[in-house]
């Protein structure tokens, strides 16, 4: 009697185990494993490796893995160049993010207004997303070339429109506004004016994407709620302000994450448009890392810059990933 019951349990157990780890599931796991191993090595392993390089003395051509602690971090953070990079990155991210969100929302609301030729306008606003940052950079660099004697590029358009006061030196502008240079900083604090053309080009490229996200959000809001508010006497503005806008908040969050992480990584556009210049006025960590490692052979310092970039992006992405996975499980 007792024997049969244990037997039954064992059979049930093996049966359950059998059902779980059967041949199909084994195949599934085996099939997934190359990708998992690739990611484990090429993402996590390499990050650890880079992290170790950033703590090493490898600042010459030949690899030198001797441990020097945080020396490379100290030397980059205390250098005026890296401080300038961080300033540029903050300025770029802030302007880029706000402009993309505002313009993207505006475009989405306009396209959503049930107009004729909606598809045409939507395609026009979105097409820059299909183009390489390098192409964008080449085109916009020329438009923002100030011209030496006569106005050129965008200045020429301003001249034609009678807006000569907008005439600027653009990508050649070395000024920082406001020109604030406190004792504790090794860089001028303010907006490097040469960054403005880069922001314009980046917004040109990415605001259509923001529009597409908002458009998906707007289409998801039921017309009934809005209609109910209208019946209650709300103006269109109030409907937007108190119903549409709050309902778009999750979209805004996603857009902020995607745009901010793109901007923290920005590299291609800066290389093509300004090459980081004039001086270091538009140089960002993504470019500095490249220069340090591949031109100056300061491998360890370059790795330290990369680790700072990774840390910034992780602060943004990790909570978002965990959160979006958690809400995804319920679906």
């Amino acid at each position: 009697m007792a024997q049969t019951s244990t037997q039954n349990i064992t059979i049930a157990q093996t049966k359950r185990r059998k059902r779980w780890l059967n041949r199909d599931r084994l195949t599934a796991i085996l099939l997934l494993s190359p990708s998992v191993i690739a990611i484990a090595v090429f993402v996590y392993g390499f990050i650890a490796w880079s992290g170790y390089v950033s703590l090493s003395n490898w600042n010459t051509l030949t690899p030198d893995y001797s441990f020097v602690g945080l020396k490379n971090y100290q030397s980059i953070f205390s250098s005026g160049r890296f401080q300038t990079n961080i300033r540029n990155l903050i300025v770029f991210t802030a302007f880029f993010l706000i402009s993309c969100l505002v313009l993207g929302l505006l475009l989405a609301v306009l396209v959503d207004a049930r107009i004729r030729a909606e598809a045409f306008f939507r395609s026009v606003y979105l097409f820059p997303m299909a183009v390489s940052f390098i192409v964008t950079g080449v085109a916009w660099r020329w438009m923002f070339t100030p011209g030496d004697a006569d106005p050129a590029g965008i200045n020429l358009i301003f001249h034609g429109l009678g807006l000569d006061f907008l005439n600027g030196r653009w990508i050649a502008d070395t000024r920082v506004w406001p020109d604030w240079y406190p004792d504790w900083s090794k860089t001028k604090i303010g907006v490097p004016l040469a960054m403005i053309p880069v922001v314009v080009a980046a917004v040109w490229q990415m605001s259509g994407f923001t529009m597409a996200m908002y458009l998906a959000g707007l289409r998801g809001i039921s017309e009934e709620i809005k209609e109910a508010a209208r019946v209650d006497g709300c103006s269109e503005w109030k409907v937007f302000r108190f119903i549409t806008f709050p309902l778009l908040r999750p979209i805004t969050l996603s857009a902020v994450i995607i745009l901010a992480h793109t901007s923290l990584k920005i590299f291609d556009l800066i290389v093509t448009m300004t090459g980081g210049g004039p001086g270091n006025a538009t140089e960002v960590p993504g470019l500095l890392m490249y220069t340090l490692v591949f031109s100056s052979n300061k491998i360890a310092e370059g790795a330290a810059v990369a680790m700072v970039m990774l840390a910034l992006i992780s602060l943004l992405i990790v909570p978002y990933l965990i959160n979006s996975r958690r809400s995804d499980v319920e679906v």
Partner: protein, 292 residues
């Protein structure tokens, strides 16, 4: 009487904002099309027509000379054209896209229909890979590719694009397959289909849109990619087209017509994809924001 006159004021009130709406949208459209206008008119100008002060003027005559210069380069001045790199990019982008699609589809299948304890965590860990700045893996990548004898080759570029494409392709396919009812899979299993049977006879026939989305996404992002192309190719012979364009625009700084023609050549393949398959392009774009 009142019933007739009632719609009139509403109509009038609506019309004027409509005009303003179109005006605003057209101004914005001009902003987006301005670089295209400049690219097109400049690229069909001959060199003597190109000047900073007349850069917005329409060309007085059509010339395709700049496209020839951009495509063939100028061997006498040691400037290489885009023709070789165009082929390099093709050789890189096609295998990378095909392999990415297959890998992504299988991964997505496992992670949606064959979940196991920890598979969701694994998926999240894989996803992190698409957000990292590639600067944080470049040094080990170069070392490893050299050891694998893949450094400085198109095969190396294909390999890198496939590996770092795993997160996004897996994500798109997984979210796509989640939408396929599990009942279908179970029905297939009852009929005796095993792991590959279910994939082959149930998932795959439904996968065409997923493959199109992923293929377009990978094609566009690999074609447009710059950093890996710059790092992994140590000689001009194998560099992809974005790197070649950057070099061309650096070496022929004043020959704007050649630069603009080059930019158009680089942009053309992805723009054609966008024009003809924009709907799928948009879907890939939205998948990148995680919510699908």
């Amino acid at each position: 009487m009142s019933a007739v006159s009632l719609p009139a004021p509403t109509l009038r009130r609506r019309r004027r904002p409509r005009v303003l709406l179109y005006l605003l949208m057209s101004i914005l459209a001009i902003f987006f099309l301005l670089p295209v206008y400049l690219l097109v008119i400049t690229s069909v100008k001959s060199f003597d027509q190109v000047s900073l002060s007349r850069m917005w003027d329409l060309p007085t005559s059509l010339s395709l000379e700049s496209f020839g210069r951009a495509w063939n380069g100028n061997p006498r001045e040691g400037v290489s054209g885009l023709s070789g790199s165009f082929l390099n990019s093709i050789y890189m982008v096609i295998p990378a896209t095909v392999i990415s699609c297959i890998l992504g589809s299988l991964n997505g299948y496992v992670l949606s229909k064959w979940r196991f304890p920890g598979s969701e965590t694994l998926f999240t860990l894989i996803l992190f890979g698409m957000f990292i700045p590639y600067q944080s893996i470049l040094v080990p990548l170069v070392q490893t590719l050299s050891a694998m004898k893949l450094y400085g080759s198109i095969a190396g570029l294909v390999f890198v694009h496939v590996v770092y494409g795993i997160p996004i392709t897996t994500l798109i396919f997984r979210n796509y397959y989640v939408g396929v009812p599990t009942e279908l899979v179970e029905a297939g299993q009852i009929d005796g289909a095993d792991f590959f049977g279910v994939y082959r006879f149930i998932l795959l026939p439904l996968s065409a849109p997923g493959f199109v989305v992923v293929a377009i996404w990978q094609f566009t992002s690999i074609w447009n990619e710059f950093l890996f192309g710059l790092i992994i190719t140590n000689e001009p012979r194998i560099r992809p087209i974005t790197v070649a364009l950057q070099n061309l625009s650096g070496s022929q700084y004043t020959q704007w017509n050649v630069q603009m023609a080059g930019a158009l050549i680089v942009a053309m393949p992805t723009l054609l994809v966008y024009i003809f398959l924009g709907r799928y392009f948009l879907r890939g774009l939205m998948a990148g924001s995680l919510k699908g």
